[in-house]
Amino acid sequence: MSDNESLSENIEEYLEVIYKVSLEEKKPVTTSNISKNLNIAPGSVTQMLKKLDKRGYVHYSPYKGAVLTEKGLKVASKVTRKHRLLERFLNDILKLKKDKIHSEACQMEHTLSDDAERALCQLLEQPDQCPDEAPIPACDFKFDTCEECLERKHEDVEEIGSRDENLISIISLGENEVGRVSFIRGDYKVIRRLMDMGITIGAMVSVIKLAPFKGPVEVSVRGSKLALGRDIAKNVFVELIDCESKDEDGALAHG
């Protein structure tokens, strides 16, 4: 496990160096160059480059050097991006000394999650350079613009309401049983859609029909009938309401 981790860290370090040097020199990166940058014996570097070639991260030919493949480039720019974002963070926010920044960032870059990377980028207001003016590579998130990334910050919501042990999914509601919606889990858009259609926290829902073959569920909510796909429906959780105390507006439901 830890072997694996250090291996992937190792790979990331190599790719980062190849990325940096190849941007400067625009030709294959030689073993000696890497050896100098990483402070590792040329023999070990050659070994590693062969390994990287086999895994499809670089094209390596002896005497010439290594070129990043598309796969390698992806990893390299990602880790470089994290490194430089971290440098900015350590410099701008934490105000660490400039000579400490690099090695600190080198340690942190491998464990920084993508979510943290995105938050960091937003916090630093989308910097495009690190403190020593090297450019920060673009992110690989599926947003068209930084604005979109910022806007969608709130769309990470994937559940609303509170999860409670007594809750059951609406697909487990029997016929003529009524439940009060207490917890919804799912994609942001799905949650918004459900709420637009009346399935909000606190709404009274009953099941009219479950289609066979794991088909959709027909529910009655706020006087309308909705068909919900099984995958959506099973993530809507309700608190079972005692039928006797069932009331139109649900206010007396607690009994």
Binding site: G202, K209, R222, G223, I232
Partner: protein
């Protein structure tokens, strides 16, 4: 759509009862889907209407006009939506229209049976602060369900005029127009009844004060913008941010506070509160008396019954096809007689130009007419009936789990069934699906669906010259292919499938005028797309023929057609002409060998030709709409997949069939 397109004509019951010369004004109809907006629209504008698309959007725009008390009134039928978020084109179009075009009055049409859910949208319209008239439609159906709505109470609770109507019978529409005119003439400020809970309301007011002080150039009311920002509306947030980002930071702070108080995101809090208010108003204004279960409810029980439901669903689909082909066959007989004067000339005697014009261009017109009138129109009529009556939603409900197997949900059944009539409008209607991926998957499946032209091919080649069972078998084969190809496409396009969220509207007898209008609108857009392609395509092929290009090409194709598929050499020509329209395969074959095709082909060849003809390419019109909707790349991938499938399946049958026949 150019305004000059309107014709000055009288066409409504509301004509000239009173004369005055005021300026024109505009009414917009807005509301949830299937509440009878289109019926009202048709009743108001009569024949004075234009149906097109919103500029740059794939959303239908219907506009018309009427004369009332000497005033010319423009009526816009906005798409049916449930909310003003920005998750769909329809929502964006509606809200931009209301905010920017500023209609003089908005008529909000509500389904009387589902008052609470409909009021949720009404409250959002009121937040936009437009002059509003509320129309409670389908009160007759609600009454059957024992729901009686007190107009006066509702009017008092909302603070805007309320009119009850039964639009299909025209009841209440006159009063509706009167109130709308009055509301437009003396625009009153919407009373601020939409108060949220104290802590939310306070923050909305704070935020709207701030927006006011910053004087943004946006064309929305401050309160509405404040609400939308707190609801995390990406459009408004983006626009405001460009002008004064500090508003957004303040709003984030407020949203965070709301979240802290309620332990829920602020958009959820606001939706809940709005619904609570809708519930309060609805329960105050309606009385629910239990009357016996109406027929529609009992019918609904059968239609979604775990066993009977499949039976009725199959019945609906088969019924639709049977109806189309029975009527189509009958009408085509008549039309063929009428067009019997049309016989292709032999270019060797008549000369190339005549052949291109007569066989080609005019032949294209004939082919278009004989497809659209007999098959497409009856199909659209029945489909529109099935759609508007609510039957189709039941079928979609029952079929959802099967559709999931090809990565789609129940609603995708609608375009797929449309594909049985003609692929072109079917692909057009994939717009009802949520994501591009789903639309692509559906469009891909549709290109394999046995459309009217393919059916003619199957019937004309196989049913007549082999037997009806083989024709049916090909139909089944096609369904299997749709399924397999659908699965493959699903595997090839990674991504998450959207689940089904669909309202099950009350079953009802649809309005005949809506069915006619819808059929006409669909037919018309098909004519615009298809006729030019038929005429030009067919003329081009005749030109190629005249230039003697076709024969070398079909010789060139011989390894494929003769070697692999076991067809005669001239099959190459057939497949080329068939690219315009599939029945051309049949027509050209007749022109080559006369009416008794069995002289030229053996049963295996009939079946193989039918299979290849059915699958090898979507026709030109289909390719055209694929390009229009999805771009060149997707269109060529889909076309390539069709072609490969045809060759593989056709070749296999050519090798295997001789052992059976």
């Amino acid at each position: 759509m150019a305004k000059s397109g309107f014709k000055k004509e009288k066409g409504t019951d509301f004509d000239g009862s009173f004369s005055s010369s005021k300026d024109d004004f505009t009414i917009a109809l807005s509301g949830n889907a299937k509440v009878g907006k289109s019926v009202i629209f048709n009743q108001l504008s009569g024949s004075n209407q234009i149906v097109g698309n919103w500029p740059g959007k794939t959303v239908e725009k219907a506009q018309g006009k009427l004369y009332f008390q000497g005033q010319k009134i423009h009526v816009i039928d906005l798409p049916g939506i449930y909310s003003f978020s920005t998750f769909s084109m329809e929502e964006i179009v509606s809200r931009e229209y209301i905010a920017h075009e500023k209609p003089d009055v908005v008529i909000n049409v509500l389904d009387a049976s589902v008052l609470e859910r409909n009021l949720f949208f009404t409250l959002q319209l009121m937040e936009m602060e437009v002059p509003l008239v509320v129309c409670i439609n389908q009160v007759d159906i609600a009454r059957q369900k024992g729901i009686i709505i007190d107009e006066k109470k509702l009017e008092k609770a909302l603070g805007v005029p309320v009119v009850s109507t039964v639009a299909v019978r025209g009841e209440g529409l006159r009063k509706l127009i009167e109130k709308a005119v009055k509301a437009a003439d003396n625009p009153k400020k919407i009373p601020e009844i939409i108060k949220y809970g104290g802590e939310v309301e306070k923050r909305i007011q704070n935020l709207s004060e701030m927006i006011k002080s910053k004087k943004t150039s946006l064309n929305y009311s401050n309160r509405w913008m404040a609400i939308k920002i707190l609801e995390n509306d990406p459009e408004i947030i983006k626009n405001i941010k460009n002008e004064s980002p500090e508003i957004i930071s303040y709003a984030n702070q407020l949203a965070y506070e709301i979240e802290k108080i309620h332990q829920e995101p602020s958009f959820a809090v606001m939706a809940s509160e709005r619904y609570t208010l809708a519930n309060l108003i609805a329960s105050g204004a309606q009385v629910q008396t239990k009357i016996d279960i109406p027929f529609s409810e009992r019918l609904d029980k059968i239609l979604t019954h775990p066993v009977l439901g499949y039976f009725t669903s199959a019945l609906v689909i088969i019924g639709l096809l049977l109806w189309t082909f029975t009527i189509g066959d009958f009408l085509e007989g008549i039309l063929s007689n009428a067009f019997s004067f049309f016989q292709p000339v032999d270019p060797q005697f008549s000369g190339a130009i005549t052949a291109i014009l007569w066989n080609g261009a005019f032949g294209g017109i004939v082919a278009g007419v004989t497809l659209i009138i007999p098959f497409v129109i009856p199909f659209y009529l029945m489909l529109s009936y099935i759609e508007n009556s609510g039957l189709l939603t039941r079928v979609a409900f029952m079929m959802d789990s099967f559709m999931h197997k090809i990565g789609l949900h129940g609603k995708a059944l609608i375009p797929l069934i449309l594909g049985y009539g003609c692929n072109v409008p079917a692909i057009d209607s994939t717009r009802i699906l949520e994501t591009r991926r789903e639309r692509l998957l559906a469009a891909f499946a549709i290109t394999f669906a046995p459309c009217a032209a393919r059916t003619i091919l199957i019937l004309g080649l196989v049913a007549i010259f082999v037997n009806i069972w083989w024709a049916l078998a090909l139909y089944v084969l096609d369904l299997i292919i749709i399924f397999i190809m659908g699965r493959i496409a699903l595997k090839a396009t990674p991504g998450e499938s959207t689940g089904l969220i669909m309202e099950m509207h009350t079953l009802k007898l649809p309005s005949f005028s809506v069915i006619l209008k819808q059929t006409w609108a669909r037919t018309k857009s098909l004519i615009y797309l298809v006729f030019p392609i038929y005429i030009v395509g067919s003329a081009l092929i005749q030109a190629f023929y005249a230039m003697g290009v076709l024969e070398p090409v079909s010789n060139f194709m011989a390894p494929l057609t003769v070697g692999w598929l076991g067809l005669p050499v001239f099959a190459g020509v057939l497949l080329i002409v068939g690219a315009v329209r599939k029945e051309f395969i049949l027509l050209t074959l007749v022109s080559f060998v006369g009416t008794d095709l069995s002289l030229a082909l053996n049963p295996t060849q009939f079946i193989v030709l039918a299979i290849v003809g059915m699958l090898y390419l979507p026709c030109f019109s289909t390719i055209a709409i694929l390009i229009k909707e999805f771009g060149w790349k997707a269109a060529s991938v889909i076309t390539g997949a069709n072609f490969t499938t045809a060759l593989v399946v056709g070749g296999l049958f050519a090798k295997i069939l001789p052992y059976f026949l």
